[in-house]
Symmetry: none
Subunit: 194 residues, 4 copies
Amino acid sequence: MKTVRSRREEILDTALDIISSSGIQRLTVKNLARALKVTEPALYRHFTSKRDLLYSLIVMYGDFFSGIAEKTPASGTTAIDRVGGLYRELFREFTKRPALSMVLFTEELFRFDRQLSREVLSIIEMIHDTIEGILRNGARRGEVRQDVPSRQMSWMVMGTMRLVVTKWRISGYTLNLSREGRKAFSFVKKVLAK
Amino acid sequence: MKTVRSRREEILDTALDIISSSGIQRLTVKNLARALKVTEPALYRHFTSKRDLLYSLIVMYGDFFSGIAEKTPASGTTAIDRVGGLYRELFREFTKRPALSMVLFTEELFRFDRQLSREVLSIIEMIHDTIEGILRNGARRGEVRQDVPSRQMSWMVMGTMRLVVTKWRISGYTLNLSREGRKAFSFVKKVLAK
Amino acid sequence: MKTVRSRREEILDTALDIISSSGIQRLTVKNLARALKVTEPALYRHFTSKRDLLYSLIVMYGDFFSGIAEKTPASGTTAIDRVGGLYRELFREFTKRPALSMVLFTEELFRFDRQLSREVLSIIEMIHDTIEGILRNGARRGEVRQDVPSRQMSWMVMGTMRLVVTKWRISGYTLNLSREGRKAFSFVKKVLAK
Amino acid sequence: MKTVRSRREEILDTALDIISSSGIQRLTVKNLARALKVTEPALYRHFTSKRDLLYSLIVMYGDFFSGIAEKTPASGTTAIDRVGGLYRELFREFTKRPALSMVLFTEELFRFDRQLSREVLSIIEMIHDTIEGILRNGARRGEVRQDVPSRQMSWMVMGTMRLVVTKWRISGYTLNLSREGRKAFSFVKKVLAK
DNA sequence: TATGAATGAGGATTCATTCAT
DNA sequence: AATGAATGAATCCTCATTCAT
């Protein structure tokens, strides 16, 4: 049982690597098989189609973000600290596995396929919902400014994340992502503050 | 007047439409030719290669944004008003020609080609430079908050633009973009303000 | 025995047939696939590109000639007999597989591709080196005239081979190549003799 | 009248240059037009088709060789001297206009087209007939060896020419063709001599 | 679980040629 | 005498997928 699951995950991981290093256009069944050192038909043992694989990838993205969101302490901290925790956790995971940073850019990734892109948008929405929820709570408790809608601010939070990650990717992953993230958050903090 | 629009421009416009409606993966020579109701080889009279076409497209994006940037009044207004003017002009143009809104998402568009993506990044940089320049001036004159770097704020400005445009596109271009833009800017204003 | 002949070899053989019957310009992926009764993509399982196929073909030519050269007795005969042996062996093989006679005309075949033509020239050189070596030895031992450089004579030997093969091909392979070869060699003999 | 003829010749000359520098596969209507700095349809004013152009080219080759053959003194010299004269004249012309040296390699050039290759072979035959005729006369007069058929010897003469020209072309036309030709002929002489 | 061989559809591009101007 | 725009057929090659083994 374990073996089956790990093989699937291995394939998904490799697919992720290809996407993040060469773009989704380079994620072909051939390239994926080559990277995994198996033949192409072998992949069809694990996924019924390429769409199935992409779909699984999207689900994986979602699970990954959910996992991160759950890790950040739900209470006992201010909303701003929770956003800070989100930054910290995400950037720590991205540093471990840079390919995962694609999760922040998914909406452009799968635009070509109606069904897949719907799936992807729901993940984006989920991420925004999470951030928005934190901020809304913070606003209610007076920790966060109230003159800008939480949804709007969640986009600023995400936008800043993307800025940091984009810089990091352009640098060829040589920048210290966590440090850059901290620096960026110190400004986000000021913008969110009352 | 319409006749002045050269065959090249007509092709580029059609390419733009395809990209924005179906994604760049659907921009094939075949699809483009079909949309223009000519055969594929006909396109090669006007562009030496598909890359040449894409490159021209990127240059067009850059020119478009430069044009917009130049239109916004350079003086006699506050920095925040100038940013507002940028919003207004861009959204007005996007409404006229929705495909142009792709300009805000170019960095994800051409990630698959090293040389093209370099070209694209320089446009993104140009846009950010423009916004950052406005904000920096504003900060110096005390119109804009000084505790957050101008570059950081330019990302918030751009991020918000993207948010608005994304919503608009998801709506199938049925939303009133200009109104949504005004609403969004009213919040950006507050965040940028001292 | 026939089964041992791999798919690759089968493809190369067919390519060879096309070249020798219709010229290298007719050796298109489409024609080759048609001749093999498969679709074009099927060929790409066996060769990464048409160039790869052509390259393999050239290597095959070289191996073929090396094989022939090794068959001719290295000692116990005069230089002139060895050249005669070369004639005999080559013409016998050509009769079995007319397409192979292209080996004598390779330098004109691949002139369009720098890298391939370099490869081809090295085969031509190898053939000449072989013949020249035989003649040089013969000249040293006094079996062959010494007033004309061996290299020069090797061109006469090759030139005569080409003459015979050209006649044979023009005849649509109806001439008896071995007999024509023997006749031609009887004159070459006189020219080479002291 | 002169203008029309010279335009045609100019085109043929340029075609010749392309063939000899890049191979016949590079002689496309597009390339030819580009080299002449006109558009493609312009060429169709002068030749009804590409075949027509190639045919004219072949005729030109033939005329060129006929011209050379007529220049060599018909009498008052030995057969061997006449062959030497042929060498001298041909190599002098080739030096002036390297592309013309293709005339020696025409049989491989147009193999892909039955009708054209027939035309070409008749030129080759004509060249051989010329040389053979000289040698036959020489043999009758006892200036040339009689134990080898004249046709056979004409191939040696031609083969040696090709050897020299091939070396010269490989050298990028930097070798002194006339000198190399003289050297080669000094050996041919010995082989032909009684 | 995997492979070798194949496929139909489509990718960008080049070919010689035509036609209205 | 020449051009701008176009075309049908072909070029090599890649795509996701299937199937017998």
